[in-house]
């Protein structure tokens, strides 16, 4: 079932592509002096030499050894693996977009600029913020940019002592990492019994050294921080700002806005909420959106609409500067814009509503059989714990996850958030039907029953894949990272 490396099929002289012959006037190439020899490469690189069909079969085979949303249900919590509409793929192939150079004269790229401008307008409306930047290439990149703006804001105000970023214990790992990259110290905020921010703990940590609180809402337990207005008021009162991690926006888009909740800056994951494909880990897109307070600090250039059309504006003295090579992952932006056009104001609201409906429905089926440590109504995702299964039968969250692979599903997120031991985090998204959710729940429950009778069976899963569980210790201790 496995596929050899393409380099191992290499045969000298085979070609999968040929270039047109150089057709310059006779003698030009010969007369052209070579580059000085000390600048020339010495050792050739070892690359495959194969025929075109070899390339096609190789990568087609590799695609069959991969699993995407198009293959089956993908309830990976916090990743919003919803269906990626084919219309976006079709439009992203238009030569009128793919052949555009980022530095061609803007009089010739008004179409691209109009898409970016209008996308920013729509994202501003959806988030309740004033404006944004499309340059960040991923969610974590957006966090980095948002915190950089917070840094610049306090530097501008001379508040150099604001050196702390508060992060709840349930936050994504990127949050603290992004804060540290901007030179902040990270202070962890505790969660209370309900799985929400412990407001007393938060308040005890609020003082003149706090630059910002980073919050995901709904949080990674799938719970809405219902006291968000009190939280934001307290942070603002001490002079700090609020950062919204938009990873879970899919639960509330069209229903409520981070702007109304009091957030000053946020990032979106267009590859989650706005249905652009994940591509096996990227490219994504992580626009940052800000309110008026932080708007002067947005990356440059900005895009403005003038009488003469769309222009870039570079003259922005407080801007943090550029954050990526050109203007962002344009083809991803385009797909997200297409999604918003398709769904419209009612559609995005319907997406959120059905994401929440699906999560609660699945939870209602599973909670009879599994521990849901933070019960009650959830938003778009929920977390179960396999701790008791581990104690009683030795079955871990990982074992359950691997068992699901054999049933034809992508497993939920494992071991996150760390607040819950032996956690499995489910986010079914609005894309799945009731029949799919029923079948999924039935699979998981029968897996559980089987595991209780025969724990060894699950320990050996998965059985249907080209390889079983891999020796990760060996992968680290004897690194084999290239051919």
């Amino acid at each position: 079932m496995s596929e050899p490396l393409l380099i191992d099929k290499s045969k000298k002289g085979r070609k999968a592509y040929c270039f047109p012959a150089l057709d310059l006037p006779r003698g030009f190439e010969q007369a052209l002096p070579e580059l000085p020899s000390h600048l020339l490469r010495i050792k050739p690189a070892r690359l495959p030499e194969v025929a075109e069909l070899d390339v096609v079969r190789h990568f087609t085979k590799l695609s069959t050894l991969s699993f995407g949303v198009d293959n089956g249900p993908y309830p990976l919590g916090s990743c919003t693996m919803k269906y990626n509409p084919k219309l976006g793929e079709q439009i992203a192939q238009f030569p009128a977009f793919t052949t555009m150079h980022p530095l061609q004269d803007i009089s010739t790229s008004q179409g691209c600029l109009s898409i970016m401008y209008n996308l920013l307008e729509d994202l501003s409306s959806i988030t309740g913020m004033s404006w944004g930047s499309l340059q960040p290439c991923a969610g974590a990149h957006g966090e980095y940019v948002g915190l950089k703006m917070i840094r610049a804001y306090f530097l501008e105000r001379g508040e150099v002592a604001r050196n702390k970023v508060l992060v709840p214990i349930s936050a994504h790992g990127t949050n603290p990492a992004s804060a540290v990259m901007n030179g902040f110290d990270v202070v962890t905020v505790a969660s209370n019994k309900e799985g929400l921010v412990d407001i007393e703990d938060l308040k005890s940590k609020l003082d003149g050294s706090v630059a910002a609180l980073m919050l995901t809402n709904p949080n990674t337990l799938g719970l809405f921080e219902k006291d968000i207005l009190e939280i934001s008021a307290s942070v603002h009162e001490c002079g700090g700002l609020l950062y919204y991690d938009g990873a879970n926006l899919n639960a509330i888009m069209g229903m409520a806005t981070p702007g109304d909740m009091g957030f000053d800056v946020l990032h979106l994951n267009l590859h989650k909420t706005f249905s652009t494909p994940h591509g096996g880990g990227g490219p994504g897109s992580g626009p940052v959106m800000v309110n008026d307070t932080l708007r002067p600090f947005l990356p440059k250039p900005d895009i403005e609409l003038t009488d003469g059309g769309y222009v870039y504006t570079w003259d922005r003295p407080l801007s943090i500067g550029k954050v990526s090579m050109f203007w962002g992952n344009f083809l991803v932006l385009l797909r997200a814009y297409v999604y918003i056009l398709r769904m419209g104001s009612e559609g995005i609201k319907a997406a959120a509503a059905h994401a929440v409906l699906n999560a609660n429905y699945l939870k209602s089926k599973l909670e009879k059989h599994f521990d849901v440590p933070y019960g009650g109504v959830c938003m778009h995702e929920f977390v179960i714990s396999c701790e008791n299964l581990k104690k009683e039968y030795g079955i871990t969250a990982q074992d359950m996850a691997k068992g699901l692979i054999d049933e034809g599903y992508h497993p939920p997120t494992m071991y996150f958030p760390t607040l819950v031991s032996e956690a499995l985090m489910f986010e079914p998204t609005e894309s799945e039907s009731i029949e799919t959710l029923d079948a999924f729940a039935d699979s998981l429950i029968s897996l559980l029953e089987r595991a209780k009778k025969d724990p060894a069976y699950l320990k050996g899963a998965p059985y249907s894949t080209p390889v079983g569980r891999l020796d990760e210790v060996r992968a680290i201790k004897e690194p084999d990272l290239h051919y």
């Binding site: 150089l22 000085p36 495959p48 069959t64 990743c79 096996g280 990227g282 083809l331 398709r342």
Partner: protein, 451 residues
Amino acid sequence: MVYPYIPHTDEDRKRMLEAIGVGSIEELYASLTEDLLLSDSVPISHGRTEDEVLRMITAIAQRNSTGIPFLGCGCYDHLVPSTVQTLASLPSFVTAYTPYQAEMSQGLLQASYEFQSMICEITGMDVSNASLYDGANSAAEAATIMIGSKRKSKAVLVSGTLHPFTLQVLHTWALGTGNEIRVLEEKNGVTDLKSLHSALTDEVAGLIVQTPNRYGLLEDFSTVAEQLHEKGCLFAISSDILSLAIQKSPAEWGADIAIGDTQALGLPLAFGGPSCGYMAVTKALMRKIPGRIVGATVDGQGRRGYTLTLQAREQHIKREKASSNVCSNQALAALMTTIHLSSLGWSGMVEAAQQSYVKAHYLAYHLAQLPGMTLVWDVPFWCEFPLRFSDSKKMRKFLQELRNEGIFAGVRLSSLTRETKDELVLLVAVTEKRSREELELYLAAARRVMK
């Protein structure tokens, strides 16, 4: 309205709400207080059908116009085999998440392993990650590695000939962190390495350079690695990866870190993104390199398989102790580069680089004969070169008239640097894709305008 992306019927909703034990979807939002729930829909347009969206986007697309691009500056119009787009569009590549579940993601993982292998082969380095956002962000990550690798360092030296946007991204990187970017000035279009020795103070952690540089010129890094290593500093070289088919690889210059974009290998111009950043390092830096890395190992039965490895470097484990926050990368773009290189092989890569070299020199040679424009420096270049115009009126006319003939003649350097000293400099890029006919069209138009 029925939404094709949401499968629920009225009957489904009813059954699901009953099972949950609530009367309506609104009840599920009870934790949102009334002052948070929007009373109205958000002010964006109503939904549209597929056909309506297609028509609308087609109309917007008509406001773009394309020409024969002699534009570069980090984004180049090379030939791309048909295999690339076709195979990279296979849905189980496109719609997959990061391959955390290795057993069901062997294809993606193996493709990343092959990508890493090719990057190691081409750069000559020991360890490559599975991609970063773009070349500018790879440079920022290299700066982070440098600071983290030398005790009590707080400055990174960079060449003034880095791509202006890379330099800007590096300045943003330093902002508010206590670290600084120190610029090594240029002389005659290349880094002034005479000043390197005196610039290597204790707080300097390393040097980042670029070749071909911002002008398209090839730089000479003889003795640079030795000088840096003697002071405990790291050496990073940024390169258009295709240029490494001809010029010395970063490893051959003695670099510790190789960075850049792979856009020239299989990625469309796409208005500048997605591109794909690469980073490869020496073995000594294996645990400092950011981003995902795929490794080969075996399963319980001894079968070879691939998995994400060395994950304890990463943010999802190390949180505030991680040196980088990178999570998503540019996996699908890296896959396109992998398919491209698999199709070209080494001989194809050399051919593309060599033809670009020859064609660029053909155009440069003939343009240099014309009055009113000169090649700025007599320094070796590869596929892009700087032309200086004698006056700005002439330059504008040149660009305008060539654009009228469907030729995008080059990038004004001042549009990147926003500096008056660069206003008369035009950067012209020529790839193997430009046909003889297109080159002659350019020359004929140039002769007409510049006579």
